[in-house]
Subunit: 307 residues, 2 copies
């Protein structure tokens, strides 16, 4: 069933120990939608500038992503330049040019308003709340945020947290949001802020889902999904967004939402994140096949399962 | 079957965000042997000073640990004082007094020389090699080391690595030993140094086992075991040694060594580590029951398994 994502489409210039890439297609909603497109039909709402061309459109079209919700404005698309050292979990920002993204005010095409599955990628929580309130029929809504909003827009973020079924953030963001250095306690505090489920991403160590009591029949116990120990991380950019795309995409592909669906969604999230880092930008998603996804899903199962 | 451990028995003074403990029983071989004692019979070789009394002996005896191999010397036992802040994976050393441990030269009682399972806890690799060479009949030998030996005794450590079936170290130590910041690549380089298996402990994120091709029928794929996200980590000291004790103890309790046994051993290692941190010193191991261990083992399975 249709999965709507609202967020950034951007150009990234990236340096890693494996090389450099100049102005490759990036942005949270880009990585999310391409990863999710392997599981379900995806609708994308974003804003781009005049530098977004037929070439970039084709990347989405080739994956069947509906880009009718991409607004085009005069000016330049969001641009980010960053560098990674040996720690693939920490990017150093070299340059940020918001461009047309600075006045992003997402407009939902009328035909998108019936979207049963929604992902509010990392944008101003005021906009996330505004989008969420236009989607009263949504069955399951996921959301992301970042340090900038946790520090600067806590009341607005608090509103957003009450309107999502799943919040997907990383360890550092979870500890900052809860103001608690212990991850399990932080999770409990964040669940008390509203989201029925909290998925904390641990980078190369996988991810853990925490559930409100009774949420989705999931019971009180957390669930931990692995990632593959990778010898080559070419470009970590977008790994978290690709995780979210695999996670939400798999959930949207299933009729029912229960603990078992959640678990598999966590595994598929890890799988998509592990592919995303194999190339710069969106390159790996452009060549990936569903068969490769299933093969790695089975490997992830083998990585963790005991008889 | 009998599991021999050679290493330190010490007194620790520990500060954590949950309180303080003065001169509690500690040391790698202590934490290891108590954890392993829930799975198999354990023989302990160590050295202590005159401050080691009937009270400490009783802690081992209550768990059935054979302490006939503990040498008593004039002077004081190894003493360590440390503090933990919010990051439970990083201890700040406040004081170290080697005492009688500075001249530790492990003597194996004759009746220990048939030990089929052996763990060389973190001591000078020269001593580890010397002990290993007296145990030609050993079926499976595990070993540990630390930054101090990786930096200062690389050739001696290289000898030790050729003589162990499993090396159990943490992320930081693995990256330092391999001189590679990527964990998967570091693992491959360490396996090339000799050990048939490498178990890398990730603290609160669990542990990953890497296998030489064909080792123990384990195949080339790694295996990842979880830990429980704990709300209260009272004292992280000894968590890694308790992991090793659960891991080696479970292996020693089984006749055959294969991939499935390894996997369960990794889970039991995580279980024992998760109990160890619930109290200062050895307190939790002194009250723990096998039923509690099985209950948590099942929880760990539930934490990671998908249908």
């Amino acid at each position: 069933m249709s999965l709507l994502v609202v967020g950034s489409v951007a150009f990234d210039s990236i340096q890693t120990p494996h090389g450099k890439a100049e102005r490759v297609l990036g942005g949270a909603a880009t990585h999310f939608s391409l990863a999710a497109s392997f599981f379900t039909s995806v609708r994308l709402v974003a804003v781009v500038g005049e530098d977004f061309t037929e070439e970039e459109e084709q990347v989405f079209r080739a994956r069947g992503v509906d880009i009718g919700g991409i607004a085009r404005e005069k000016g330049k698309s969001f641009f980010w330049a960053g560098a990674y050292g040996d720690n693939v979990n920490e990017a150093q920002t070299l340059d940020t040019q918001l461009g047309v993204f600075s006045s992003f005010n997402p407009q939902l095409p009328a035909k998108y308003k019936d979207s049963p599955y929604v992902f509010l990628a990392n944008i101003d929580p005021v906009l996330q709340v505004s989008v969420r309130r236009q989607l009263n029929g949504a069955r399951f809504v996921g959301g992301d945020t970042m340090n900038y909003w946790i520090n600067g827009s806590r009341p607005q973020l608090g509103e957003m947290l009450k309107l999502v079924d799943a919040l997907l953030i990383n360890d550092h963001e979870a500890k900052m949001l809860a103001q608690d250095p212990n991850l399990a306690r932080a999770a409990k505090k964040i669940l008390a802020m509203g989201p029925k489920t909290l998925v904390i991403k641990h980078g190369e160590y996988g991810a853990t889902a925490f559930f409100q009591d009774g949420a989705f029949g999931a019971g009180g116990h957390p669930f931990r999904a692995p990632t593959l120990p990778l010898e080559t991380v070419v470009d970590p950019t977008g790994a978290g967004d690709s995780f979210a795309g695999g996670f939400m995409g798999y959930i949207a592909s299933r009729g029912e939402i229960n603990r078992e669906v959640f678990k598999k969604a966590m595994f598929y999230g890890g799988v998509m994140g592990s592919f995303a880092v194999e190339s710069f930008g969106t390159a790996r998603m452009q060549t990936l096949t569903r068969a490769e996804i299933e093969e790695r899903f089975n490997l992830f199962c083998e990585l963790t399962h005991i008889e």
